[in-house]
Symmetry: C2
Subunit: 133 residues, 2 copies
């Protein structure tokens, strides 16, 4: 793993920490302020723009359910852009969501520009590959 991949993973973990602590201020700081931001929460329509994305986090972080944690994180860096793929699940449980988090370097720091989380479930429109779980 390169140093920059490790830095992106630190930022990705900070995102899940803010999520688990329901820390809206920390969540706000983790998202880009200059670049355009977008978000696909599981089952939601696409959210476009910082106002819509942060409003979604205000609604989500009010929820009192068990915290979500990431696992099997992998980071990929290309210049001033990076992305992390990982699984998400309720703490202590099996992963139930697949996540793609995209980052950009803004003022020297990695910041989120896109979060996409979707259910790990039986696909409807595409066949499963033999042996896939």
């Amino acid at each position: 793993m390169t140093q920059e991949e490790a830095r992106v993973l630190v930022c990705n973990q900070a995102f899940y920490d803010a999520f688990a602590r329901r820390d809206l201020a920390a969540m706000d700081r983790l998202w880009a302020s200059d670049a355009a931001v977008t978000c696909f929460h599981p089952g939601w329509d696409l959210l476009i723009g910082r106002d819509a994305v942060m409003a979604s986090w205000r609604a989500i972080l009010r929820d009192e359910g068990p915290p979500i944690e990431a696992s099997r994180e992998r980071a990929f860096v290309a210049g001033d852009a990076a992305f992390v793929v990982c699984l998400e699940g309720l703490r202590g449980g099996e992963p139930s969501l697949a996540a793609t988090n995209i980052f950009t370097r803004e003022h020297g720091e990695w910041r989120l520009v896109h979060h996409h989380a979707g259910h790990l479930a039986q696909p409807a429109a595409r066949p499963r590959m033999p042996g896939a779980n």
Copy 2:
């Protein structure tokens, strides 16, 4: 829209065209050959590496179901990286999947490094935002 965003959208459309035509050779050319590639098909586990990703497309493109098409595409470019968010649905139907496609510039051409498609459905682990559909 910038010229580069338009170029990324052309590449994104080429991906859905190859998907609809079940054209494995075209699909193969659209994916990066130098950069690491990953893929989350809806409900599948994470696929890592070109061999696993192309094996998944071989399996998917054998299917004889109606073609999938993209809608509401938006492109975001940051240097030599870019991503497109869009919706996917069976041709003529309502969108049923949310997609995030990440590209990198390789030998002067935009190439896919990650595809993530997940169902637009009722979320289980997170609350819905009031008014979200």
